[in-house]
Symmetry: C2
Subunit: 103 residues, 2 copies
């Protein structure tokens, strides 16, 4: 899959996953990679960006099965942005499909 296609949608994917409940980074990577090819080098910097923009927050939880996990939770601002981006995605993909079919 062309990496360019993912641009702009991965942020929405992460917000959408966190919308349904808190997750730690590695788990988010695995959930998204069920649907498309993705690596940690993409997701971790994205999580940092989202946190810097205060769309998500994080907390550490110790784990018995490995290193401590950093859980992420969506903020109210994140929920608002998620809904905006979801609407944008819908209208965008509709526009593309219209163009592909020939107006």
């Amino acid at each position: 899959m062309k990496s360019q296609l993912k641009r702009g949608t991965l942020e929405l994917c992460v917000l959408s996953i966190l919308w349904r409940g808190d997750c730690y980074g590695y788990e988010i990577v695995n959930r998204i990679s069920d649907c498309m090819q993705i690596t940690e080098g993409t997701v971790y910097p994205l999580l940092k960006r989202l946190k810097d923009n205060m769309l998500i927050d994080s907390y550490i939880v110790e784990s018995q099965e490995g290193p401590p996990r950093k859980y992420y939770t969506i903020t109210d601002m994140g929920r608002t942005v998620k809904e905006e981006q979801e609407a944008e995605w819908t209208s965008f993909s509709t526009a593309i499909n219209k163009l592909l079919k020939g107006d």
Copy 2:
């Protein structure tokens, strides 16, 4: 609309328009901007890239209503790539919609 969303799809949009018949650059800009916000500064460099990759070809036609027009035509290679990219787009948008709905 977020500019990042368009990444990777504009190329397919142009190929898809040319699939249905030759067009000149300015016309392509106008057709795409019926569906989404786009400027010449995006499309002309893209047309150059597509031509460099031999997915499209071009020829000049004089015009009575202004400067000469550079018409673009899709090549056989362009047609192949267009079909590949269209399939990619379909599977990609399906994957995103699945992720947004929560697997």
